[in-house]
């Protein structure tokens, strides 16, 4: 027993030492491979997040390595599975920082684990290109925190503006009772009401239930013209298929979660492709699948089939594009700072993305590397569009509305950043 206690104590000390010595700010030894951590769920209910992340990280790394790497180093994407649970994510973050000696940054964390792990990563001087939308990070003081996707509460404005544009005045809000989905609701209600509409039903949904018949009856009793939604794929499939079977569908406007492959597959399978095309639209950050940056991304993505299963599913995914951009931005910041040490190159992240007079606009890593070597200052405009960080390292742009027909996501309109700014005042 005493031996067991001693062994446990020794293990705890080792873990503690690992955690204390986990600063990611040390940089890398000469010619070692630099690691970009894919810090997201790769198993559990949100396992699809990790696959989506690989759809951005891998294509970026391929192009960077093909271009000679960064300051003599090759890069690699390493999966760090958080299982979508803070209880697993915290030790995963500590282990990653303790064992990945050449860690230069991470993609993630997601909303599942960001509140628990972003402070740890910041403390460890690990630059993070997060995919959490939590409003808690709207005014963060964490120097190593970078967000190039809109905060969740911004989505509420976009949904309201798009519904107003379509002429809807009475709506039901069907959002999961998780923190991420609920953070959309206050701004949705505020904006839709300000635009003259009424949210007639607004109650958080318990996720993963076997049935939503009672909720459907209550929603229909309020006579909505449209349903706003963000729920997980299984809940969405159960809810909408029951609505369809029992009473017939209503128009649905979802957040970007509803435009992701798992949601489209689950709900499309449940209600059928014709109903999806007719009744469903989703709003996502505006990242049109066109232009030279996107072409470079997509070409590399489609060539990554060995590491990214069915890569074409991420071709027009704005999150995969922003992960791709995140890796490129870190790589260019290292070159600009002439250092792979995160503590040194982290401030250069804004320097390689913000616009400015005399700056050379580049849309690929190769172009940025060449410009920096030639002594230019650069502004990287990536596959996801321009990146302009505010004081709190948040960058928010426009939103696009898209529908899902014939197996592809088709752009049907957009809401500008200026419209969002106007309604949010």
């Amino acid at each position: 027993m005493r031996i067991a206690v001693k062994a446990l104590g020794a293990a705890l000390v080792l873990v503690a030492v690992g955690a204390c010595g986990s600063s990611g700010g040390g940089g890398a030894s000469a010619s070692s491979t630099l690691v970009v951590g894919e810090f997201n769920p790769f198993s559990g209910p949100d396992a699809s997040f990790g696959l989506e992340m690989a759809g951005g990280c891998v294509p970026a790394i391929r192009l960077i390595n093909a271009g000679g790497g960064v300051l003599g180093h090759q890069l690699s994407c390493v999966q760090e599975d958080t299982r979508g649970d803070p209880a697993d994510a915290v030790p995963a973050a500590q282990k990653m920082m303790a064992t990945e000696t050449s860690l230069v940054g991470v993609l993630g964390p997601s909303s599942d684990e960001a509140l628990a792990t972003a402070p740890l990563l910041n403390q460890g001087h690990v630059p993070m290109f997060v995919d959490t939308g939590q409003a808690a990070f709207n005014h963060t003081g964490d120097a190593y925190f970078w967000r190039v996707t809109p905060a969740d509460d911004v989505k509420g404005y976009a949904l309201a503006l798009w519904a107003h544009k379509a002429g809807y005045t009475r709506a039901a809000a069907v959002f999961g009772n998780d923190a991420g989905a609920q953070s959309d609701v206050p701004t949705l209600v505020k904006a839709f009401t300000r635009l003259g509409g009424t949210i007639a039903y607004n109650k958080p949904f318990a996720l993963g239930q076997s049935s939503y018949r009672t909720e459907i009856e209550n929603i229909l009793a309020t006579h909505p013209q449209v349903i706003f939604t963000e729920v997980d794929p299984q809940t969405g499939a159960t809810f909408l298929s029951e609505l369809q079977q029992l009473h017939g569908l209503l128009p649905v406007i979802g957040t970007e979660v509803t435009l992701q492959a798992p949601w489209l597959k689950a709900v499309g399978g449940a209600i059928g492709p014709a109903a999806m095309a007719r009744y469903f639209q989703g709003m996502q950050p505006y990242a049109p699948p066109s232009g030279p940056a996107w072409q470079a991304y997509n070409k590399s993505l489609l060539g990554s089939a060995a590491q990214v299963p069915k890569p074409s599913q991420w071709s027009s995914d704005p999150y995969s594009m922003t992960y791709y951009d995140g890796v490129n931005v870190m790589a260019l910041a290292m070159i600009a700072a002439k250092s792979t040490s995160p503590a040194v190159f982290n401030p250069y992240i804004t320097k390689v993305t913000e616009p400015g007079p005399g700056k050379k606009v580049v849309d690929t890593f190769a172009a940025g590397q060449a410009a920096l070597r030639a002594g230019h200052q650069i502004q990287y405009v990536g596959a996801g569009g321009p990146i302009v960080f505010n004081h709190w390292h948040n960058s928010t742009g426009a939103f696009e509305a898209a529908k899902y027909a014939n197996g592809t996501i088709t752009l049907v309109g957009s809401v500008s950043a200026a419209q969002i700014a106007a309604i949010s005042r």
């Binding site: 696959l51 958080p204 318990a206 239930q209 009672t214 159960t238 798992p262 597959k265």
Partner: protein, 295 residues
Amino acid sequence: MNTLLPAIGFGLVTASILAVAGVGFTLQFGVTNILNLAYGDIMTAAAFVAYLVTSAGVSVWLALVAGAAFGGVFSVVLNRALYTPFVRHGTRLFGMIIVTISVSLIVQNGLQAIFGASFFSLNMPRPAPIHVAGMVFTTVQFAIIGIAVAAMLLVHLLLRYTKLGKAMRATASDPELARNCGIATDRVIDLAWALSGTLCGLAGVILVMNVTAFTDTTGSQFLIPVVAVAVLGGIGQPYGAMLGALIIGIASEVAAAVISPDYKNVVAFVILVIVLLARPQGILSEIATRKEVAA
């Protein structure tokens, strides 16, 4: 009030799925003394079997049979190949729970490795709505209620009126005494795994028929209400599980109608806690008391 009656009606569908799953779970524990927390994952595995069958163009009703059969066979093999050796080596209740959690993770990750982290739907005709007493159901939901009633009736007939049922009840009550009375308890336990596994597989398929889209974690997410049903009814008590399913199924729908959908699970578990405060061994407590002592 106008939403209360439909909520009770809708609760019957939820209760039907819970009853099939809950009776299988509690029967398994009652006879074998193993709290099998891989139960939800075996439900999912059975759903994937049904998915493969319907994907091959076979009717969903045959897929239901295939899923149930898979659940029965898989459970017997699992017990024979894994659980029984642990029990023979003296692993006690808590240790066996850890073993079943390990199996749960293995099955879940195995399914994810085989099928991928995606969502799947059974290939079945879109059900038609049926109006009954001011409520709207679908043909599938009626079928689920019918399947549950038939399954419960069969379990009742088996337990009450067959030699095997009596042997199962005797084994559940006191395995040593049952063995000394000449009952082949090993065979009875095998048959208990087969029966409870069949109910597990059946529950997995009717669950995904109702939710319409599922993934490798669907069954494990459903395990908590299944355990709640078993505990509420008195663990090891099939009739208690049936009653527990009715209470939790209806209470959760009424909560969604009267309070908020957010409180669906909360209200069901508040009822569970209140009942357990009054009757710590569950509503029907005979075997639960014995098992507690054995543990």
